[in-house]
């Protein structure tokens, strides 16, 4: 029933720095099924963010194979990746990255607008309600707390009804209480809407709430026992 929504085979991403080649992701083979709630765990520099960017079609791979939403995107050009992202991938970032000149509602409307979807207003209102911010829609990001900002970012990510939600350290800038609220929201979305969620985090307490945990170190997947986070 559940299909592999993301499939990687021997995935590699290298950066050519002047002196040496850096293998940010080094031969990762991974299957993520629709409806999974995956935590990518590992210390900083372990390749979590790069892997997340690649799976989200934000970055191109150096070698290996990548299938997203049933489509092989290994050789797809930068310009064409935007269409794949629009079709079902949303991002959440550590520092929220809301557009500071736009209100909460306008921020949420933005992806709908870029993907030329109708009824931006009603859809945006709906998702803002879902994340519990119906009363803050006309506030600018600077008028909101960190937790509220991240919830606006989540609403923005949900607006286009994505199939995959990628979150890069979504709670890194939040206090424990807000962080737990965000994770509870993830769990709820995963359970109630069968949304595939992949979260990069180095917080074991939060990571353990996912139904699948992938440990990374030096760009490679390692067994749980070897992870320094345990």
């Amino acid at each position: 029933m559940a299909y592999d929504i993301i499939k990687t085979e021997n995935l590699t991403k290298t950066y050519d720095l002047t002196a040496e080649k850096i293998h940010a992701v080094n031969g990762v083979s991974l299957n993520i099924q629709q409806g999974d709630f995956v935590a990518l765990m590992g210390p900083s520099g372990s390749g979590k963010t790069t892997l997340l960017d690649i799976m989200g079609c934000l970055d191109r791979i150096s070698s290996g194979k990548l299938e997203v939403l049933g489509k092989d995107v290994s050789g797809v050009k930068e310009n064409a990746l935007v269409n794949i992202r629009r079709r079902g991938i949303s991002f959440i970032f550590q520092d929220f990255l809301l557009i500071s000149s736009l209100t909460a509602l306008e921020n949420v409307e933005l992806p709908l607008y870029f993907s030329r979807q109708a009824q931006e207003r009603s859809k945006s209102m709906e998702v803002l309600k879902k994340v519990g911010l119906a009363h803050r829609i006309n506030h600018l990001p600077k008028q909101l707390s960190g937790g509220e900002r991240q919830r606006v970012a989540i609403a923005r990510a949900l607006a286009t009804s994505p199939k995959i939600l990628l979150a890069d350290e979504p709670t890194g800038n939040l206090d424990t209480k807000s962080a737990q609220e965000i994770f509870s929201l993830f769990k709820k979305l995963n359970k109630e809407e069968n949304l595939t969620i992949i979260v990069a985090t180095h917080n074991p307490k939060l990571g353990s709430q996912a139904n699948k945990i992938v440990y990374l170190q030096d760009g490679k997947i390692i067994p749980k026992e070897k992870s320094s986070l345990n």
Binding site: L58, E78, F93, L97, S101, E109, F114
Partner: protein, 394 residues
């Protein structure tokens, strides 16, 4: 419409910077509009002045053609005189329809212009003057009582400046002569408005130039006879013939170099404004690198980003265009005043002519300018790779 809102809110973020950039564009546009308006106004004024001269050619004493052209239009200083007998020859020419002799003199008057001093222009004329210029009508009073009466007829502005009415006395400084105002002319929009006319004989007497003339205006029966007529008079040693067409050309030549200078200034102003806008937008693009990356990550295409940045520059230029036009309209009288001070000859009437078509032209030009100025920043923004853009701040 949403693109407009995003762009507009971006500009609002750095209000002072946006306002300053708009100010720069406004000034460039105002300079451009003023100069083009001056060009249009000057040409029209000149044509009006020349058309209302009433004659085809002016016969003057031999001398500098520029001086003669200036003389023809406004009198001017450094006048040369010719003998009256030339007039006799021209009158008898069968090709001539009408002819009018003139004796122009300028007198410095310390009390003019509220004590700052200035030249008053006097012109001795005969009745044929009015026949050649039938649009010269009396606002008050009438023609001189005799061909040598101690009387003057004042142009509309001359009467205003000197504050004289019919029956008042007028005193010419330096020549100790008192004349009576016999008539005041209506406004014609030409240089005649500023002249004080008197009978030719009186003028010759007052200025001690008996038997002398400064010019003879000639209207031919047919304009086609002009070159032949000029050719014949060319042999006369002491005189030269200036046709109106020549004068128009000479005057335009006189201001041509000034115009080139002014147009260069306008082009430089616009060039600077374009660079200023490009610089401002580029700076704001770099400041928003992460936001642009995010927009791309959440689905904006290259074209979407390009459009947002283009709209921002165009908005700046549209506002600049509106304020620039307003500035040009409000400042036109100041510009006019300055031009009148600077140029050797300026025609009557409105010198800075801001036509609606000029405003529309400048507005469109401003938008084009915005599109040009915005292209590079928009390209830079749209070609940013989302992942790199987002990670720059990390």
């Amino acid at each position: 419409m949403k693109f407009f809102i995003i762009a507009f809110k971006n500009l609002k973020r750095k209000k002072i910077r946006s306002v300053l950039t708009i100010g720069g564009v406004s000034i460039a546009v105002a300079v451009l509009v003023s100069l083009l308006a001056f060009d249009a106004g000057y040409q029209e004024g000149l044509s009006n002045d020349i058309d209302k001269m009433g004659y085809h050619v002016l016969v003057t004493a031999k001398g500098c053609p520029y001086e003669a052209a200036t003389l023809m239009l406004k009198g001017g200083g450094g006048l040369r005189y010719m003998n009256e007998d030339v007039y006799g020859k021209i009158v008898d020419d069968p090709r001539v329809d009408m002819v009018t002799p003139q004796l122009v003199s300028t007198v410095y008057n310390q009390e003019r212009a509220d004590g700052r001093g200035g030249f008053a222009m006097y012109m001795g004329i005969e009745e044929s003057f009015l026949k050649l210029k039938p649009w010269n009508k009396f606002k008050e009073g009438e023609w001189f009582s005799s061909a040598a009466a101690d009387e003057v007829i004042m142009g509309y502005e001359a009467a205003e400046v000197e504050q004289r009415a019919v029956g008042d006395k007028i005193f010419i400084p330096g020549v100790e002569k008192i004349l009576i105002v016999k008539g005041i002319l209506e406004r014609t929009g030409t240089q005649d408005d500023g002249v004080i006319f008197m009978p030719l004989k009186t003028a010759q007497g007052v200025f001690g130039l008996s038997g002398k003339l400064t010019g003879i205006g000639v209207k031919l029966k047919e304009i086609a006879m002009l070159s032949e007529f000029e050719e014949d008079l060319y042999n006369e040693p002491a005189i030269q013939v200036i046709s109106l067409a020549q004068v128009r050309g000479t005057i335009l030549n006189l201001i041509a170099s000034a115009k080139v200078m002014a147009n260069s200034v306008a082009i430089i102003a616009i060039f600077i404004a374009v660079i200023g806008v490009t610089n401002t937008i580029l700076m704001s693009v770099f400041e928003r690198t992460r936001e642009i990356g995010v927009m791309k990550a959440i689905g904006a295409s290259r074209m979407d980003i390009f459009r947002i940045i283009w709209i921002e520059t165009t908005l700046i230029c549209i506002f600049g265009g509106i304020f620039g036009n307003i500035l040009a309209i409000l400042g036109s009288s100041v510009v006019e005043h300055i031009i009148r001070q600077v140029l050797p000859y300026t025609p009557g009437g409105k010198l800075v002519l801001i036509a609606p078509s000029l405003l529309i032209f400048s507005f469109i030009a401003t938008i084009v300018m915005g599109l040009i100025a915005g292209t590079y920043p928009a390209l830079r923004a749209s070609s940013m790779r989302p992942i790199e853009a987002i990670r720059t701040g990390d």
